[in-house]
């Protein structure tokens, strides 16, 4: 009888193990982003906190799945990030890497993920190359891209009749891609690009570039940058009287922490395209309040996206019964996304999450009723308009279909 008991226990454990075939028994998710530099508030440490919330809400422990979240700072250096990603995948048993703010870093790590069949959950980078030339069967682009931002913000500005643009471009993969997308949208809408200037990532001083924008006489100064670069540019544009000169600013990648840093006095009236606003419905408010209790600030689209992508990844592991990268990735594309961030969202063959986006305007100090009450939603951009059509994809495994 005792022997039977042991046998039964053994059988039970093997059947459980076959139900959940986890490499080394643990699902390890690494959150890799800029934690100290230009983009530290854009995603940063709070993005790792959002991933931890996803693990708790997934209730991994009760399901018998052990999940570990680790995080690291890539310092906006693609070489640092690549070395770390390889070590994580090869030595530390990491199954997926999330966030990956900074397009140059994301392209490098996504390529490594593709080689090794590991999942990347990209919530912070913007370049559409991640679902085109540099796509990966196990790579997911979750929140926004240069296409969604230019369609949202640039199109709306064009519709106001402002059709000559000057671009301030962050001088690396993201900025160049962003500038190309804006140029495409502006020219398709009958507008012109009067000029552009590439500035180094992390410039403290934009006055010189703003002066060039002023001299160009363009109606709109488009900011193809993000993080503290956008903040500094907007702040200094106020000082140099860009608006008094009859020019308007259009920030392409603006997140709520940027508005918080600028203050409503400076930021009022700015347009932004966002995948998430905490005060949009009950579900987003409930989650955001919990996030605020843990981090002391409201989440932006990157943090909310990291939560959503990690949760969906874990659900796919549960459904697939394994943490093998390609299998889980296929499952993620089959299953609908269901959370406050992307209700009814779907994941396309190229790894892009398809969901609606919002065009928002920053409130005036008089309109705002409390802390973090910053946005008015002007327009909801339907899912099919927010992402580049799949037919236009340059992604080899999508084109092959």
């Amino acid at each position: 009888m005792k022997r039977f008991g042991i046998l039964a226990a053994l059988l039970a454990s093997t059947s459980f193990a076959s139900a959940q075939q986890l490499s080394d028994g643990v699902v390890r998710i690494g959150v890799l982003n800029d934690q100290t530099g230009t983009y530290a508030d854009f995603g940063g440490l709070t993005s790792a906190e959002a991933a931890r919330m996803a693990v708790e809400d997934f209730d991994a422990e009760a399901k018998g799945i052990k999940v570990e979240i680790i995080s690291a700072d890539h310092q906006n250096k693609a070489d640092v990030a690549s070395a770390l990603a390889r070590r994580w995948f090869d030595v530390d048993g990491v199954d997926a890497i999330a966030d990956l703010t900074n397009s140059a870093v994301a392209i490098a790590v996504n390529t490594i993920g593709k080689e090794m069949g590991k999942v990347t959950l990209m919530t912070g980078p913007a370049t559409t190359r991640l679902t085109n030339e540099d796509c990966s069967p196990t790579g997911f682009h979750w929140v926004f891209d240069t296409y969604s931002q230019s369609v949202g913000t640039a199109k709306s500005v064009l519709e106001q009749g402002k059709d000559s643009w000057f671009l301030l471009t962050a001088d690396y993969a993201f900025g160049h891609q962003m500038a190309a997308e804006i140029t495409r949208v502006v020219e398709a809408g009958g507008g012109t690009i009067a000029g552009s200037v590439n500035h180094p990532l992390g410039s403290p001083d934009f006055s010189s570039f703003l002066l060039q924008a002023q001299a160009s006489g363009a109606q709109i100064v488009g900011l193809a940058n993000a993080g503290t670069d956008t903040i500094n540019a907007i702040k200094q544009a106020g000082e140099f009287g860009i608006a008094q000169g009859g020019q308007n600013l259009a920030g392409l990648v603006i997140v709520i922490s940027d508005v918080h840093a600028l203050g409503l006095e400076t930021a009022q009236g700015l347009l932004a395209t966002t995948a998430f606003y905490w005060d949009r419905d009950d579900a987003s408010r409930e989650w955001s309040k919990r996030f605020e209790e843990r981090t002391g600030r409201m989440p932006g689209m990157v943090q909310a996206g990291t939560y959503s992508s990690v949760l969906h990844y874990l659900r796919a592991i549960e459904a697939a019964g394994t943490d093998d990268g390609p299998t889980v990735a296929a499952k993620m594309k089959e299953m609908p996304v269901d959370d406050f961030f992307a209700p009814g969202g779907t994941v396309r063959a190229d790894g892009r999450l398809i969901k609606e986006m919002y065009l928002v305007e920053v409130k005036t100090p008089a309109e705002s009723t409390g802390a973090w009450d910053y946005y008015k939603v002007l327009r909801t951009i339907p899912p099919q308009d927010a992402a580049q059509p799949l037919e236009q994809s340059a992604c080899p495994f999508v084109k092959g279909n």
């Binding site: 100290t36 530099g37 230009t38 530290a40 508030d41 940063g44 001088d171 200037v197 590439n198 500035h199 180094p200 992390g202 410039s203 403290p204 001083d205 006055s207 010189s208 570039f209 002066l211 060039q212 002023q214 001299a215 993080g227 503290t228 903040i231 500094n232 702040k235 200094q236 000082e239 140099f240 009287g241 000169g245 922490s257 940027d258 918080h260 840093a261 600028l262 203050g263 006095e265 400076t266 600030r297």
Partner: protein, 295 residues
């Protein structure tokens, strides 16, 4: 309208003026470094953090105590300078008899700690600090729109630089300081308290950084990295000017601001590198720096 190398002269004048404004920050920061290095032989890597602290203390005065910009300009250098004096007494003073490298490592470590603490508390996006109402707005100079505040920055930093140069090079106090650098034992024998003088000098150098921090608060974003972004450039300025040369640091500070401004017109991608290229050339041709004396 004639053009100069494809750039209209208006744009060129504008950029030169902007270069001068950025140069003011380089000048005032490199001056503090030069004073500290010249008199204490300490490579003060915490200088950027102290500049950042200046901006943060100004922000704190405004938000926690309601003290505005003009008082901050006076109070902040005193508060941060006093903090510098405490650091000097407690830690840096123990390293004078050791190699430069130890002072460099200690101050670098202190800078990382200060930045880390503030980053933890306030995040990275920066805090808003408004331009004082007296200096809001700007002048249309014909070739560019000059914000009043930026004009003030140039005037204020020039005044501080000239005053510092005057005190060190032309007064009796300055003579004591310079003598104490040459031969501390002999100056001590004349009844002058050399260690106290050195402590106060460090405090003064730190106060200069804090002053620059207050000047910067309304125009740059007040964030924990603002000093780290700038300090490397400022070190390059000091090296080009000649380590420890007071006049050299002021002139090169403004001069390199101009060079950087021009680079932003002709080839903006190189604007973050140009100063280091000049540094490399100067080190090859004149290793003691443009104004330095060979050791």
């Amino acid at each position: 309208m004639f053009e100069l190398l494809g750039i209209p002269p208006q744009a060129l004048f504008g950029q030169l003026l902007l270069g001068l404004i950025n140069g003011s920050f380089y000048a005032i920061l490199s001056l503090g470094l030069a004073v500290i290095f010249g008199l204490l032989n300490i490579i003060n890597f915490a200088h950027g953090a102290q500049y950042m602290l200046g901006a943060f203390v100004a922000w704190m005065l405004l938000n926690y105590l309601g003290i505005g910009y003009w008082w901050a300009l006076l109070i902040v250098p005193i508060v941060v300078g006093a903090f510098g004096i405490v650091l000097e007494r407690l830690m840096i003073a123990r390293l004078y008899h050791l190699d430069h490298l130890y002072g460099l490592l200690l101050t670098f470590g202190l800078a990382l700690i200060i930045q880390g603490l503030l980053r933890n508390q306030y995040g990275i996006s920066g805090l808003p600090y408004s331009i004082p109402p007296q200096l809001a707005g700007g002048q249309n100079l014909g070739f560019m729109f000059l914000p009043n505040y930026r004009g003030w920055v140039v005037v204020a930093s020039l005044a501080v630089c000239v005053a510092t140069w005057f005190v060190i090079e032309k007064t009796r106090l300055g003579a004591y300081l310079r003598a104490a650098t040459e031969n501390p034992t002999l100056v001590g024998a004349f009844g002058i308290n050399v260690p106290r003088m050195i402590t106060l000098t460090y405090g003064f150098g730190v106060a200069l950084a804090a002053f620059a921090g207050v000047l910067a608060a309304p125009v740059y974003s007040v964030n924990p990295n603002m000093g780290a972004d700038l300090i490397i450039v400022v070190f390059a300025v000091v090296v080009i000017g000649g380590m420890g040369s007071i006049l050299g640091s002021i002139v090169t500070g403004f001069g390199l601001g101009l060079v950087e401004g021009l680079t932003k017109v002709f080839y903006p991608e190189a604007s973050s590198v140009v100063i280091f290229v000049i540094m490399a050339i100067v080190l090859l041709v004149k290793p003691a720096g443009l104004f330095g004396r060979a050791a």
